[in-house]
């Protein structure tokens, strides 16, 4: 017989947990849900737009009754559970309905605080929490004129804005000197107040409400100084408190909220609790993202898997008032140990403040221009050292030297038909529609449903912005991002474990770190394969089945299933014999197209898979090796003609390029790695948009790193200046090895450099000569194994023959 699970509280946190649970263990429980409200589960976050007339009720439903039926869930709506009989393990509702449980989940949410002042119970006094409240407000707005909102916090301002949109004259009475004092500092709060006043709201503050007046129904509000304000409707929006009444009455330990541990269990281990009603590590949450994180963990334990823990959330806030952009995260007030940096353009309506401690962001307040909110929030969550970014930080991410991918950085000002994701052709309107109609809350969900940001990823920030803006106050990105959905460990934690625990195979890593899926997935397997390869050069047995097809068969798959072949031409210096050999191969195998690549190499396109070994055998006979144009690997070294021919050339760039490519070819890297060598500062080889660029100057060579000519154009940062070729090789090898050992899989050098900072690279590679030599030596040692030409092995020695021939051909 199946176990019985009862959920008390038919809201976002509880139902989300059921959804997660049904994904993990659809057959584990007979589920019963009690909800006090007479509806299915709806998106409470979007009540403000409903009040403002921007959305309809049916647009904010998340789970209609059909969903409960389809999943075999018994739904008792409009029934409030009033008693938990823990001895007999059953709950009893106000109408006498009972349900017994093996596991009980409390998601009773929070209650709006009602000020205990005279008149608080008069008709016409409402709170702002449920559909019922919105209905009442809309009803009054139809026939009456004056509204008073008590409370100038997030919820109060959204309510005031909505009522104003419904045609009422609205006065906000706020106890404090400034609005939203928990989210905003004084300058931002003043700017907010001014623009809300321009929209037509009135503010009376600081002011304490003493009584609500009225005879039969509300007619006015009286303040402590005796002022009376006409009111046909009073909205109390002074805060919420966890709804713990039921839990407390049954003897479950509560403080401010129901106290739960990291597995979301109360002091009665059969009873779980989550959402706004709980207190976890002394914190209560009133935003949706933490609730969903809790839901994931809770579902995991209810499903009997038991390997996740909830460790708290960092949150950020946005205001859902159309036309006002406001973002706040973390501790922005600061103290003696923090410093602040500001950008302030009052007339232009832009204010930004970041609080820093030890070169790390601890909090942010943005007003008017919130485009970079998600970026600051990410830097804050990751605890990134921002000392290198400091002078550009307030100008935003797009000022970090990249001029790439359009320059639309303001999701807010985009029109619905503007394209967000250029790879998959997804417009802003498509994303918003998916978020609202399908009830999406996370970046991963938006990716799955719309494909936006699922290919090259360059529009991820934009998609997050749209998500944040559509969901408004309640969106916050998850804390630390795990390597993939098969694990909770991050890239860095996995790498550390591989080294420290001598894990030498994918199976060993997955076993030791308790991977959640037995085979891993297409995201983690290539990453693990790479990490193992770097950690144990020569010892680790490369697992072909964990590599993407291009790297498994050493050629680039094309959209029609054919492959391209790019032989290595060191430094791009060739000769008639090589060209003749390439021409012969192209003719002999009837290669459909021959072109030069972006890295100035020759590409044979349209080759059938089974032709590959024979082509490689011919190329090997002519002295060619693989160009690795298909891999997360060292690609080409592009170069100009240099001082041999060029009248401006200061150094022999071609000899340098050949030497670099000879030393580095065959190396696997976290992402593709391109190089360039220019013979003078005119920089014809475009070395300053390469992962590593060498530029000759009269006095020697400059080494530049972290450039990118791809998704986001980024110019390199100068690492150092050296004089000899040996030094260039040593720095190059050392830089490559540091990148191989420390960057995350699929992280290009540009974002890696922006993450760790150029100072860090200088510290490791320039200041520390012994350290640099050690990296260089480790690189050379791994090259002994890496420089076995995969084409020769497959073309001449029959390696991996099964990859290239059909299992059977049927006539």
């Amino acid at each position: 017989m199946r176990k019985k699970l009862v959920l008390v509280g038919n809201g976002m946190a509880g139902v989300r947990t059921l959804e997660e649970l049904l994904k993990l263990a659809p057959e584990a429980y007979d589920i019963t849900v009690f909800g006090a409200e007479p509806h299915g589960n709806y998106n409470r976050i979007l009540l403000s737009p409903v009040l403002a007339g921007e959305k309809r009720l049916d647009e904010i439903m998340l789970n209609d009754e059909a969903w409960y039926t389809a999943n075999g869930i018994t739904l008792y709506k409009g029934k409030t559970v009033t008693e938990i009989d823990r001895a007999r393990r059953r709950v009893i509702a106000d109408d006498g309905t009972t349900a017994s449980y093996d596991r009980l989940l409390l998601a009773t949410g929070s209650l709006p605080i009602v000020l205990p002042i005279p008149g608080h119970d008069l008709p016409g006094v409402v709170t702002f929490r449920e559909i019922r409240d919105v209905d009442r407000m809309l009803e009054v707005a139809l026939t009456h004129r004056h509204a008073v909102v008590i409370g100038g916090g997030l919820l109060g301002l959204e309510a005031a804005n909505g009522l104003m949109k419904q045609g009422m004259e609205v006065t906000v009475v706020h106890l404090m000197e400034t609005l939203m004092e928990r989210q905003l500092d004084v300058p931002a709060a003043n700017m907010l107040r001014r623009s809300l006043e321009e929209k037509g709201l009135r503010f009376v503050m600081p002011a304490q409400t003493e009584a609500i007046l009225g005879n039969g129904r509300v007619s006015a509000v009286r303040l402590a100084d005796g002022t009376e304000i006409d009111a046909d409707l009073v909205v109390m929006a002074v805060g919420i408190r966890p709804n713990i009444h039921l839990a407390r009455s049954t003897g479950i330990y509560c403080e401010r909220g129901i106290v739960v541990n990291d597995t979301l269990q109360t002091y009665d281990p059969r009873i779980y609790a989550l959402g706004e009603c709980v207190q976890h590590r002394n914190t209560t949450y009133g935003l949706v993202a933490p609730l969903f994180e809790q839901g994931k963990v809770c579902a995991n334990h209810l499903a009997g898997l038991g390997y996740w823990r909830y460790e708290g959330s960092k949150t950020s806030t946005k205001l859902k008032v159309t036309g006002i952009d406001l973002f706040s995260a973390g501790d922005f007030i600061g103290d003696d140990s923090t410093e602040e940096i500001y950008f302030k353009d009052i007339a232009g309506g832009v204010y930004k403040k970041l609080a820093l401690r030890d070169d790390r962001i601890t909090g942010a307040v943005l007003y008017g221009d919130t485009a970079d909110g998600s970026w600051y929030f990410q830097l804050m969550r990751e605890g990134a050292d921002i000392s290198d970014l400091r002078e550009h930080l307030l100008f935003g991410q797009r000022h970090l030297g990249d001029a790439g991918h359009g320059d639309i950085n303001h999701a807010v000002v985009m029109t619905d038909d503007q394209e967000v994701c250029g790879c998959n052709g997804v417009c802003k309107g498509d994303i918003i529609k998916a978020i609202t109609s399908k009830g999406l809350f996370t970046l991963e969900e938006v990716r799955a449903h719309t494909k936006a940001s699922s290919s090259c990823g360059s529009c991820t920030g934009l998609v997050e912005q749209i998500l944040a803006h559509t969901l408004g106050g309640e969106y916050s990105a998850p804390g630390v991002k795990p390597l993939c959905k098969c694990t909770d460990f991050t890239h860095d934690q996995v790498r550390k474990a591989i080294r420290e625990h001598q894990l030498q195979s994918l199976a060993a890593v997955m076993h030791f770190l308790e991977w959640k899926s037995p085979d891993g997935c297409p995201a983690c397997r290539p990453a693990l394969n790479f990490y193992l390869l770097v950690a144990w050069p020569g010892e680790y047995h490369d697992e072909g089945q964990s590599r993407y097809i291009n790297e498994r068969v050493h050629a680039n798959i094309q959209k029609d299933g054919s492959y391209s072949v790019v032989p290595r031409v060191f430094g791009g210096i060739t000769n008639p014999a090589q060209l003749r050999a390439l021409a012969d191969v192209a003719e002999r195998f009837q290669v459909p197209e021959v072109k030069f690549t972006g890295g100035s190499r020759i590409d044979l396109l349209g080759v059938k898979k089974e032709q590959l070994p024979a082509i490689w055998a011919d190329l090997a006979a002519a002295g060619f090796v693989s160009g690795h144009a298909y891999g997360k690997a060292v690609r080409t070294v592009k170069c100009c003609v240099g001082s041999d021919w060029c009248r401006f050339g200061t150094q022999d760039s071609t000899t340098m390029a050949i030497a670099i490519e000879k030393m580095t070819w065959g190396s696997w890297t976290p992402h593709k790695f391109k190089m360039g060598v220019s013979g003078c500062p005119r920089n014809c080889a475009e070395a300053t948009i390469k992962d590593l660029g060498v530029v000759a100057v009269e006095s020697g060579w400059e080494i530049h790193v972290g450039g990118n000519g791809g998704v986001k154009v980024r110019a390199t940062d100068l690492l150092c200046h050296v004089t000899t070729m040996d030094e260039v090789l040593e720095y190059t090898g050392a830089f490559l090895q540091l990148y191989r050992e420390e960057a995350r899989y699929l992280e290009r050098t540009a974002p890696w450099l922006e993450r760790v900072g150029i100072s860090y690279l200088k510290e490791r590679l320039v200041a520390d000569a012994a350290g640099r030599r050690a990296y260089y030596e480790r690189f050379r040692a791994s090259q002994v194994f890496a420089q076995q030409d995969p084409w020769g092995e497959r073309g001449c020695q029959g390696v991996d023959r099964h990859e290239f021939i059909p299992l059977k051909v049927l006539a």
Partner: protein
């Protein structure tokens, strides 16, 4: 494959388990196009038309994990047992009956109907 209803199914020996790497795939070429045979970690074998329902990508070249394969072109996940794309993507690759006896693999060219969800 328990849902086989045809009684005149012709089983064709196409090779042995050892011909397909674990978590790998091989292709059987037929006059009507390629059929991809996948081998899971648990040595189960599944056969699908070697065309992703999305843009025709060769599924045999994808990464195999659990009972799924990720198409090499755009990373759609296709369920090996049903041939159906993992939600929210939609589409289905045709399935063929396949049988393993000992280590020998037998394939039928009969096309199976799309599995019910």
């Amino acid at each position: 494959m328990a849902d086989l209803t045809a009684t005149d199914t012709q089983w064709i020996g196409v090779g042995t388990l050892d011909d397909i790497p674990p978590l790998g795939a091989r292709v059987v070429r037929t006059p009507d196009g390629d059929i991809a045979l996948f081998r899971t970690a648990g040595d189960q074998v599944f056969a699908l038309r070697d065309r992703c329902p999305h843009k025709g990508g060769p599924l045999s070249q994808g990464i195999v994990y659990d009972h799924k394969v990720a198409c090499p072109l755009h990373n759609w996940a296709i369920d090996l047992e049903s041939g159906v794309a993992v939600a929210p993507d939609e589409g289905c690759a045709g399935r063929h009956p396949v049988r393993v006896e000992g280590r020998e693999i037998y394939l039928s060219l009969a096309v199976l109907a799309a599995a019910a969800d």
